[in-house]
């Protein structure tokens, strides 16, 4: 997030796109609703009617995969009506002419047509956003999990710059990070091209800094992303795969493909707190402790580094993940030892500009939002305060392109996947909570009532859903909150697991899979098929 959670309540306008916030980030969802109660305007863009759309001034119920067309359409309205922040743009931004030229081709009529929404709603949303002194944008995977995800994010950033909403309090462009420490995992360089703090491995100086600190030579060749890893396994180039605390058999797209790669790899280590679906394919399973049994830090979606504290003893022989990794390093001849996570944080802050002022004493009471440069720095509430971080805010005009897989005669529906309030990721933890299973215990697929009627599907019926990659059986949940040609499934469940259907097309830039759009067919299960 460029801005902070506490600022949400002071936004004049909140634009939520591709985020079912009250289910995926419930407490932020509550703050958004509080803001609306206090008088803030709310724009929601989501293919489904969600809780927030009931609070919204405008709900743009767009077709999955058409975010860019919508945002371009809004910018068209803003530019046509000269509602942009000219002074801000002159001072801070480059490339405005290019943007204006491109969005000229997106009059609201055209965007309305592509997105399947009323053009007046696009105009209304654009006017609300542009006429607010402080407007914040909030988004999640509904924006990024598309083959054009990165472009959609650029598009949102164009919109925010256009109205001077970056580098300002109570506004900004705010991705809500899904899992508890996604922010931290990226900050810590658990990605193929970045060292900690987004320092590039192909940047000589950064690499040398780490070589000195770690007293060893490092490779400057960019590594493989998760999707590429599975490919390299099939090509027999990757032999050894070590998975820590992830369950790709359930969470990753195209389950059949994932399983075949995990079966194929020569040696697979899986380290987790439970015996997950992925453990089945492991050669070696290592037991780790849960968050309540170890010390450390998580970095939340507003960049706040907060303490994790040990509350109960380790179970059995299970150990904290940091200790296991350290012992493996030591076994392999790398001598460095740490007696507690605090020492690791010291090493992190010595190598990571954004974390250089962070230590356990300082974050003890309330955490600190990075960047935090030195020991006197109390952290950063919102980014780009005095100047846009790249020097000048660059408009990056982007065209709308169709999703990689679009419905056809054989697979006439768009399947979109997501999370629900009552479960977390692959349910390794929440699936063991009786109460949660009592409320939400099994897989389902949401289908529009008219469509269901046409296919003689009734609420609760067993249905077979097929895509080019696989098929599953689940139960129909007949609703009137979704378009006629769209289906929705939560991805958490293994009885009718959505990711058997999803595809692995990725966004070429961020390598995020297009989980929000797959073409599928659906049919009622016949009596004799009952399994």
């Amino acid at each position: 997030m460029t801005n902070s959670i506490a600022e949400i309540k002071n936004n004049d306008t909140i634009f939520v796109i591709g985020s079912n916030t009250t289910e995926t980030h419930p407490v932020i969802g509550a703050f958004i609703k509080q803001a609306v109660k206090k008088g803030a305007k709310l724009i929601v863009a989501d293919p489904r009617e969600i809780e927030l759309s009931r609070f919204a001034d405008v709900h743009l119920q767009l077709k999955p995969g058409t975010n860019i067309a919508l945002i371009n359409g809004m910018m068209n309205v803003i530019i046509e009506n000269k509602l942009y922040d000219e002074e801000y743009i002159n001072k801070n931004c480059e490339n405005f002419e290019e943007l204006a030229r491109l969005v000229k081709n997106y009059p609201p009529e055209r965007s309305a047509e592509i997105c399947g929404v009323d053009k007046d709603l696009i105009i209304k949303a654009a006017l609300i956003y542009a006429n607010s002194p402080n407007a914040g944008i909030y988004y999640t995977m509904g924006v990024t999990q598309h083959s054009t995800g990165t472009h959609a994010v650029m598009s949102l950033s164009n919109l925010a710059l256009l109205c001077g909403n970056i580098g300002k309090e109570n506004a900004g462009i705010n991705p809500l990070r899904g899992q508890n420490n996604v922010q931290g995992a990226s900050d810590m360089g658990a990605t193929p091209a970045d060292l900690t703090g987004y320092q590039k491995i192909f940047h000589r100086e950064s690499l040398e800094k780490f070589e000195r600190a770690w007293s060893t030579k490092l490779s400057d060749r960019v590594g493989a992303t998760i999707t590429e890893m599975f490919k390299l396994i099939e090509e027999e180039k990757i032999k050894f795969l070590y998975i820590m605390g992830e369950n790709p058999v359930v969470s990753d797209p195209d389950t059949n493909h994932v399983i075949s790669a995990l079966k194929k790899v020569d040696f697979l280590i899986v380290q987790d707190i439970f015996f997950t679906e992925t453990c089945e394919y492991a050669d070696l399973v290592l037991p780790a402790v849960s968050f309540a049994q170890k010390d450390g830090t998580f970095t939340n979606t507003e960049r706040r580094v907060q303490r994790v504290r040990k509350a109960v003893k380790e179970n059995g022989l299970a150990k904290p993940d940091w200790q296991i990794i350290m012992e493996i390093m030591n076994t392999l001849g790398y001598e460095k030892k740490y007696t507690e996570p605090k020492e690791i944080m010291k090493e992190i802050s010595s190598l990571t500009p954004q974390y250089s002022g962070i230590n356990y004493e300082k974050i003890d009471a309330n955490g600190i939002q990075w960047p935090c440069k030195d020991k006197d720095d109390t952290g950063t509430k919102f980014l780009h305060k005095d100047k846009i971080s790249r020097g000048k805010g660059l408009f990056m005009p982007v065209e709308y392109v169709k999703s990689r897989e679009t419905p056809d005669d054989e697979y006439p529906f768009i399947l979109t996947t997501g999370r629900i309030l009552y479960h977390y990721h692959t349910r390794t933890m929440t699936g063991r909570e009786e109460g949660l299973n009592e409320i939400a215990g099994s897989s389902y697929i949401e289908i529009n009532d008219e469509t269901a009627n046409r296919l003689s599907i009734q609420n609760g019926d067993k249905v077979r859903v097929k895509s080019r990659r696989g098929e599953i059986i689940t139960r129909a949940k007949v609703v009137n909150t979704i378009d006629r040609d769209v289906l929705f499934m939560p991805f958490h469940f293994t009885d009718g697991q959505a990711n058997y259907l999803t595809n692995t097309f990725v966004d070429e830039i961020a390598k995020i899979p297009e989980l929000k759009v797959s073409a599928v067919s659906i049919e009622k299960l016949k009596e004799e098929d009952h399994v």
Binding site: T22, P26, A30, Q145, L176, G178, Q179, N180, V182, A185, M188, G189, A190, T191, P192, I201, W214, R221, G223, A224, M229, K237, I238, Y242, M244, D272, F274, F275, D283, P287, A292, T297, N300, T301, R304, V305, Q306, R309, A311, V312, L317, K319, D321, W322, I325, I328, T331, L332, P341, I344, I348, L421, Y422, M429, T430, R432, E433, L436, E438, I512
Partner: protein
């Protein structure tokens, strides 16, 4: 900011003119008892426990709903105030079951704390008591109307902070309880089981359905960060006998005292019998328990083999958005510094 000077219990202080007497007293380190007050909510003024004497006013005033004024002189502990508070507590107890011996709220119940502080006992009386009414339809928490003092905190937390509006006062007068619009059970309402009402309830009327019995003085609290989503809510884990038995939200934090159903109620996985307890090695398709030493030995054998036969890029690692910063840091360090590859990624994209 305009400020005013006032005197509370002979202490002179200067505070922001927009504050209430209860807030000014808090700044002065003076505690005023309160049952329906929550600094996150607008003023309700229902319980009257916070009454104080303000010079120049004949009637006692509720400190939570009275704004500070220049030159105001406030007394929070005069005999008259204390007697009035005793009366209020007495009336509340008349309607309350004499259950403290077996109530799990004992020790963290404000009603009990104040009764103790003011020396008020349950009395025998021939008047009516409220009818028993229990709603235990929600899997995570239970409502017991007899223990409810109708302070309204739960209703206001649900409608103003959680902004779900699942519950309200229902019925009238003596029969008033907290319920759902059609009164057909919490589970059939639009309640999202966030438990924020439960965390706010000052008495044992709204209680988590705990697997373990515990009381406030038996648990130690450990502040930590919720492990479920990127909001990073701050929580206190309640620990008894090395087991997590409950969770409460931290107020002075990013979540402002709110949680969702996962953060509040989904902690039983921690002590779950399914937890992995030993390293496991697959041999002929069957997993066998092995020691850590053996596990590390095997890893070393494999690493040596692939390093020699296939080189550094035959290794790959998937780190975890569930693990700590320190662990993610070490994991990439293992791959980069020891295995000499950048084949490292995590599931940020999912």
């Amino acid at each position: 900011m305009k400020t005013v000077k006032l005197t509370i219990d002979n202490k002179e202080i200067e505070v922001d003119s927009s504050l209430t007497v209860i807030q000014a007293a808090e700044l002065a380190g003076i505690d005023i008892p309160k049952l329906c007050y929550d600094e996150r909510l607008d003023i309700f003024g229902a319980c009257r426990m916070c009454i104080v004497e303000i010079e120049g006013n004949r009637k006692l005033q509720t400190a939570c709903s009275t704004k500070v004024r220049e030159g105001m002189v406030v007394h929070t502990k005069t005999d008259r105030v204390i007697e009035a508070r005793k009366d209020i507590l007495g009336l509340l107890l008349d309607n309350h079951p004499n259950d403290c011996l077996i109530c799990e709220k004992a020790g963290s119940c404000l009603l009990q704390d104040y009764a103790y502080e003011y020396g008020v006992k349950f009395r025998t009386h021939s008047g009516k008591t409220r009818d028993p009414y229990i709603d235990d339809t929600n899997p995570f928490y239970i409502y017991d109307a007899q223990k409810c003092i109708l302070c309204g905190l739960c209703v206001r937390v649900c409608s103003r902070l959680q902004v779900t509006g699942a519950i309200d006062f229902v019925n009238r007068g003596f029969d008033t309880i907290i319920g759902t619009p059609f009164n057909d059970g919490l589970i059939n309402s639009n309640c999202v089981s966030c438990g924020n009402c439960v965390s706010a309830c000052p008495t044992g009327a709204l209680m988590p359905k705990s697997k373990e019995k515990f009381r406030a003085w038996e648990v130690k609290k450990v502040k930590t960060t919720c492990a479920f989503c990127g909001v990073g809510c701050q929580i206190n884990l309640l620990v008894k006998d090395d087991k997590v038995v409950g969770v409460e939200p931290v107020k002075d934090a990013v979540n402002e005292g709110l949680l969702c159903v996962k953060g509040k109620f989904s902690f039983n996985f921690i002590n779950h019998p399914d937890r992995l307890n030993t390293p496991l090695l697959k041999e002929d398709g069957v997993f066998k328990e092995i020691s850590w030493d053996r596990a590390y030995e095997i890893i070393k054998e494999k690493v040596d083999k692939y390093m020699e036969e296939n080189g550094p890029d035959s290794f790959a690692g998937l780190s975890s958005a569930r693990c700590t910063n320190e662990e993610n840091y070490l994991f990439q360090k293992l791959f980069r510094a020891v295995l000499k590859t950048n084949n490292i990624d995590h599931c940020a994209r999912l």
